[in-house]
Symmetry: C2
Subunit: 126 residues, 2 copies
């Protein structure tokens, strides 16, 4: 398993399975993951696993698509949480030697409130 898209799809599968040791095998020891929406940076395999492992429970991951271009795979996932609704993430993962070496993930919370009124005439809600 060395194609970036395959590695990333399997990473999500192992996270969903809460199989933390197996998920860690798909991360480089010195992996760095950025979350721009909160300006959080997670350095190192053990920290990335710790954040996922300790994420408040009740979540189910649905992988919507995984694309690949060169060393980079991009995934789009929905995460349904029993208490908080559906989150989404678009994740850019750079893969080297079958492991994620670098990640940038755009996490989007479930909607709260209404979008800005100035654009209401051109959009619909779904």
């Amino acid at each position: 398993m060395s194609e970036p898209a395959e590695v990333v799809r399997e990473l999500w599968n192992r996270i969903q399975a809460r199989d933390w040791d197996a998920a860690g095998e798909l991360l480089a020891e010195d992996v760095v993951v950025d979350w721009p929406q909160t300006r959080e940076r997670i350095r190192g395999r053990s920290n990335v696993i710790a954040v996922n492992r300790n994420y408040p429970e009740g979540w189910t991951i649905r992988v919507l698509r995984v694309l690949q271009d060169g060393d980079t795979a991009v995934s789009e996932v929905a995460v349904d949480h029993v208490d908080h609704g559906t989150f989404h993430a678009a994740s850019f993962f750079e893969v080297r030697d079958g492991q994620v070496a670098r990640g940038t993930e755009y996490w989007v919370d479930p909607p709260t409130g209404d979008p800005p009124a100035w654009r209401a005439e051109w959009v619909e809600r779904y």
Copy 2:
């Protein structure tokens, strides 16, 4: 210009240039764009252009990367706004015949407040 990544890169360039007619040429007449973070759906070229054209001014787009897999291009952009800080978007665009036919964009606002305390021991801020 028919490669999806090329079309998407040029779309961002034309939006940045506020060249709305030229930007519209890169969108299918019946394009549909979803924004999952607000559950907004924008149907049709003229509505997509209207939303961009009417977005409160003061913004500058930086294209961070554009990847491509088959008919789909994925872009990562930062949008610096003079009044509101830096937004980001991860956008999946399906391109047919040199035009964007379908889009899903994950827009992330500038951070407000601190991230959840439960994960502070494993992350740093940047």
